[in-house]
Amino acid sequence: MGKTLYEKVWEAHAVRELPDGRTQLFIDLHLIHEVTSPQAFAMLKERGLKVAFPHRTFATVDHIVPTDRREEPLADPLAQEMLEALRRNVKEHGITFFDLKSGRQGIVHVIGPELGLTQPGFTIVCGDSHTSTHGAFGAVAFGIGTTQVRDVLATQTVAMQKLKVRRIEVNGRLLPGVTAKDVILHIIRTLGVKGGIGYAYEYAGEVIEQMSMDERMTIANMSIEGGARVGYMNPDETTFAYLKGRPYAPKGEDWERAVAAWKALASDPDAHYDDRVEIQGEAIAPTVTWGVHPGQSAPVDGRVPDPADFPESERAQVEDALRYMKLTPGQKLTDVKVDVAFLGSCTNARLSDLREVAKYLRGKKVAKGVRALVVPGSQLVAEAAEREGIAEVFREAGFEWRAPGCSMCLAMNPDRLVGDELAISASNRNYKGRQGSPTGRTVLASPLTVAASAVAGHIADPREVLGIGGEDATD
């Protein structure tokens, strides 16, 4: 019987089996940022240990950085303190740091791939649950806690329990106006926010195969919102074409050898899966959330659900969500007014996300009373967007064009909701209080839906407001 990519990568990285039955797993690439690493360095110091393999750890600063004024000292002294702690730690241990003035700073899950740090067959960890993003390359990538960050700094290994593997095939094709974000929101609604606990998700099928790396990353990124710590796609020609020539990717003869090795890592056709799910691409609509977790979603042209339509065990939770969101059962989703439109985050702030929106945004304006923000995922993305004239399209339309960081996805910097403002957001979590106000409301959506809603002033169907799909009809 064949093996899955997950099993092959796991076996290649097993240092040994631990007395407790877990595996000691070698980590090829460790990414760190300012929020979850300072305590790990302090623990290391306490035990008198050093970073064992500094050439396998790379750092950037993303969560706390302001996206407007970045002169130092930063306005927030706590943010400045965290930035300086990271600078001290990387210097002391000889770790490469993509700092604010490096030209390569950005959200950790955007810069890893774009610099070629992320490669197929790697094990990749970071003190950040969206590390699953890197699985788009056929890596086994997962988020860890700070005590495990310490373990990786000290030993380049973690103690892990092997996961089961669920293959999720998305077949057929996507309809116009439906994006990778809608696919993953649909998957999470179908399988539930706890559905992935204990599993690695392998995404496959015609729709996934047709996708760009940016789109695959959007899907792998939100595996964790479906409860799966790991999500991955098998590497293919799209993967190799993306990586070729990136600064940290293999070069020359090493490149040829690497590609051959990567091809051999893909799941075998006769691999055993612990579970299989098939989803039809045509059944997926542009999707928005109406509740307080990413599984509470509906097609954008649908209505706010009625708690009575849910099994009794879920009813109280749905009622609580609607109370918090101040929504009424039966209300049309497109009647919900938006105060803020946020286009950013490790889910949807890559160049192709911005490029796709700009294509339809030209000549349109953000509605009066809507605060609209674009926060590119990295300095390289921002630079390319300026060069291509994309940034100008957003500015012309009335979006604020900001500097790269996590920004309003979790509001650890000054970008946040005020009071019970409602944001239509291209980010990944709609938890209560997530975007910085304890009563703030988040509606997750694709970049296209965010832009359409910014223009309309209410949750909007991108197919209507941006005229997507019209081209198809006249073909």
Partner: protein, 202 residues
């Protein structure tokens, strides 16, 4: 690390399924380079209104003061990998959680810092919620050797992966010392394996 065999104390009932780590510790409290003061941040936005006045919440209820156990529902700890969440629970004085299911990263983070997270059957959980809501003074005893929980006049089976249970009983839930034993083999793997900007095997 001291072994953990038995946890005895009162329990605070925290209702709600799929409680995420943003609710356990709101992101603004992550602006710190230590874990020292996180106990105060635990469930902050659920415990206090925007002016900082206490709200009606079990953690503000004096009848539960000094409790050692958090009683929670299914899917507890979903979302972010922030270890700040279990750290806040531990630093607020809790030694164990009893629930129906836990998010994976949260469970791992809790285990590594010696915060015990056991599961019980849904009907037993219902009994426990009713019991401690009716009689907050009830002492619960979690016994990891017998894998049972004594509450009122009942003895309830608790669940924990066997490896994790042994790690608690033998005081080796923090794996660093064990991981360090393999440094020779790790050095060999580092030399052989590819890395960013470094040729090698995949």
């Amino acid at each position: 690390m001291p072994p953990i065999k038995r946890i005895q104390g009162r329990a605070v009932p925290i209702r709600g399924r799929d409680i995420d780590t943003d609710r356990i510790v709101p992101a603004r409290f992550l602006k710190t380079v230590t874990f020292d003061r996180l106990g105060e941040a635990l469930f902050y936005d659920e415990r206090y209104d925007e002016k900082g006045h206490p709200k009606d919440h079990p953690l503000n209820d004096p009848r539960y003061a000094g409790a050692k156990i958090l009683l929670v529902e299914a899917g507890f700890g979903s979302g972010s990998s922030r270890e700040h969440a279990p750290q806040a629970i531990k630093r607020a004085g809790f030694a164990a959680l009893v629930g129906e299911s836990f998010a994976e990263i949260f469970f791992g983070n809790a285990t590594q810092i010696g915060l015990v997270a056991v599961t019980v059957a849904p009907e037993d959980l219902g009994y426990l919620f009713a019991l401690v809501e009716r009689s907050p003074e009830t002492e619960l005893v979690i016994d990891l050797e017998k894998m049972e929980l004594k509450a009122g006049d009942r003895v309830i089976p608790v669940f924990l992966p066997e490896a994790v249970r042994e790690a608690f009983l033998e005081g080796r839930y923090d794996p660093l010392e064990v991981l360090l034993e393999a440094m020779d083999r790790i050095r060999e793997m580092d030399a052989r394996r590819a890395g960013p900007g470094k040729p090698g095997v995949y």
